[in-house]
Symmetry: C2
């Protein structure tokens, strides 16, 4: 993996990540393909929109169908028919949020599957082994994602473990010699000094990229922005900076403003399935009865398949009927909107007008669309 910065505009920057599976233009948004599928979409549809990388979840794929099977069948790209870069997380976050009976020791974490209750033990080495088997392009270290709020004492103790695990991940990864990239994850809760310490120790170990983890876990926005503002500009400039699990576009703007390069989030896809759609006029809740005979496209300024071919009235009808096509058309629109948003954001940075971009978009993102256009 190779990363270079093309242009800065304040702390914001655009760059290019090169992998053996293709190029990624940053700042980038990675749609989430939990089970190896971005819900409701084919891989071709994502590529046609312009997406260059997706995220997939190690925890889910490890439990079902199992990394051994995916390896045997030729790796994750072949299995899911997506031939561009894939980033896999370490499984840590899902263990803390989905699994039951988590027992954390210095060795690793024992947990019970949310699917069948079976018991598993994940170590730093094991998570790397799984991700190597999946053969994703960017793999993440195992970390402990602490809840909000967490006492400083606990955050500090947890960080010692997370740092130790990061080192073990790196050691195991190095031993295995391969072409993938390994990213470290900065934890430390809402305590900037702990975050700094975490970052310093990760830099000492040395990674291909650095991620901010454990944010957007329920803390007030100010706390998140505080950590971001303190830490992001200190993350190594020459490496990709990844803000994990954050995808609210207001947060994205704020984070890019602090120099973040990569994002993933279920917001565009999950909201789509729930009928919340992003438009150039603000958010729309398609189930509202005011759309029942609205013959206009969802977003007249949008060129996606959904907006080019269907009316709000039909989208509302499909949503009310809980039709699969509702989830498809809504997901197409939201992911298209996200891609275009990121594209325009990159262009604004390239042309030194990111401030203008922010001023234009922040008010739109904060409001609901008026009922008719």
């Amino acid at each position: 993996m190779n990363f270079r910065i093309i242009k800065n505009d304040g702390l914001a920057r655009i760059g290019i990540i090169e992998t053996n599976r293709g190029t990624i233009h940053t700042p980038c948004f990675m749609p989430v393909g939990t089970n190896g599928t971005v819900k409701a979409m084919t891989p071709e549809e994502l590529a046609d929109m312009g997406y260059e990388i997706i995220l997939s979840n190690t925890y889910h794929l490890y439990l079902r169908p199992g990394h051994e099977i995916i390896k045997k069948l030729g790796g994750l790209h072949k299995f899911i028919n997506w031939h561009y870069p894939i980033l896999t997380d370490s499984g840590g976050f899902q263990i803390y949020s989905l699994a039951s009976l988590r027992k954390i020791s210095s060795e690793g974490v024992e947990f019970r599957s949310h699917i069948d209750g079976s018991t598993h033990f994940l170590t730093p080495e094991k998570t790397i082994e799984i991700q190597l088997a999946l053969n994703s392009n960017i793999i993440m270290v195992l970390d402990e994602c602490i809840p909000y709020p967490s006492e400083r004492y606990y955050a500090e103790k947890s960080l010692t473990l997370t740092t130790d695990w990061a080192k073990r991940c790196k050691d195991y990864f190095e031993k295995k010699k391969n072409k993938q990239a390994l990213f470290g994850i900065i934890q430390g809760g809402i305590y900037p000094d702990l975050r700094y310490k975490a970052l310093e120790e990760l830099i000492r170990i040395g990674f291909d990229g650095y991620a901010l983890g454990g944010l957007s876990v329920g803390e007030p926005k100010e706390e998140m922005y505080n950590v971001l503002n303190e830490i992001a500009p200190s993350m190594p400039e020459e490496k990709p900076r990844y803000l994990m699990g954050v995808g609210d576009l207001i947060d994205v703007i704020h984070a890019v403003d602090q120099g973040i390069d990569m994002f993933d989030c279920v917001i565009p896809t999950r909201n789509a399935r729930n009928g919340t759609l992003f438009t150039s006029q603000g958010k729309i809740s398609i189930k509202k009865s005011e759309y029942k005979d609205d013959n206009s496209p969802l977003d007249p300024q949008c060129n996606c398949y959904t907006c080019k071919n269907y009316t709000r009235a039909f989208l509302r009808h499909l949503y009310m009927c809980r039709e699969i096509l509702s989830m498809r058309l809504n997901t197409i629109h939201n992911l298209y909107f996200y891609f275009q948003f990121f594209k325009k954001m990159r262009e604004s940075i390239y042309e030194n007008r990111f401030t203008e971009f922010k001023l234009k978009w922040l008010p739109i993102l904060e409001k609901n669309a008026c009922s008719r256009v």
Copy 2:
């Protein structure tokens, strides 16, 4: 609407229906788009496979979003973005199978919506009015679909009503002067003499096509085949003959052998969502654990998007995860399989080898595929 027969092979025949929305090659299969969407599919995907006509349900569209809204928005084709022929049923069948509190009188039928329990009254005139508002290309008369088993006495009484309603539908339809086609529906249960009587009376009224209704409602196959064999060859030769709600391909072969031209059924789409897939080797239940590491395509002889791009192992994985993409890929395959089946059947009739076609396919359709290919 214009219909002409191209070729006969025994009683089987191929023909062409011309409508102002396009041509339909018969024998044809009509995918079912209950709420104005063939579940999991876009209209383009159906057209790309070759489908020339879909069926949509008057009952569902009348209740949601309402025919007035669809009319106001430009008709059903525009609303759902399908620009080829559409056949709508009369709503009768759904009233008998879905709605509660059915009160049938000579005037019409009162029922309660399965969605919100609201009370509605459907008359022969109203069902035509709704279908004219939808602006579908082929519209069906209101009939009473009697259950199996039904006493002869009841079947006879019901038929009097059905015949009266057919007449009223025709009268109302004629009064409205338009370019749509109106089909009559032959009822009469499993009693061939009643079916004959029904047919005679419908012919006296005069329709653009004739349908066999009230079959595949739980009766033994022999009873269905008995009615088919007795009645189908007597249906007017120069008009399309439609066997309603039947789509098991063994039944299709049998019916085409008796001169039937049109079919609709949820079998390919519903089975797809439930993981039952049709292949050139027989049926496959994709959830079986034997497919968990099966790297072969679902059907090596199939050229559909699913078979060209995915393995049985991935299809099984998607199914086990209940992913939307599972329903999409399975539906694509089954509908592609159905279209190709009908296409090959038409070719066999054209080349006077329908018997050969039957002998080849009947054993395949009866068996489950062996586990590996």
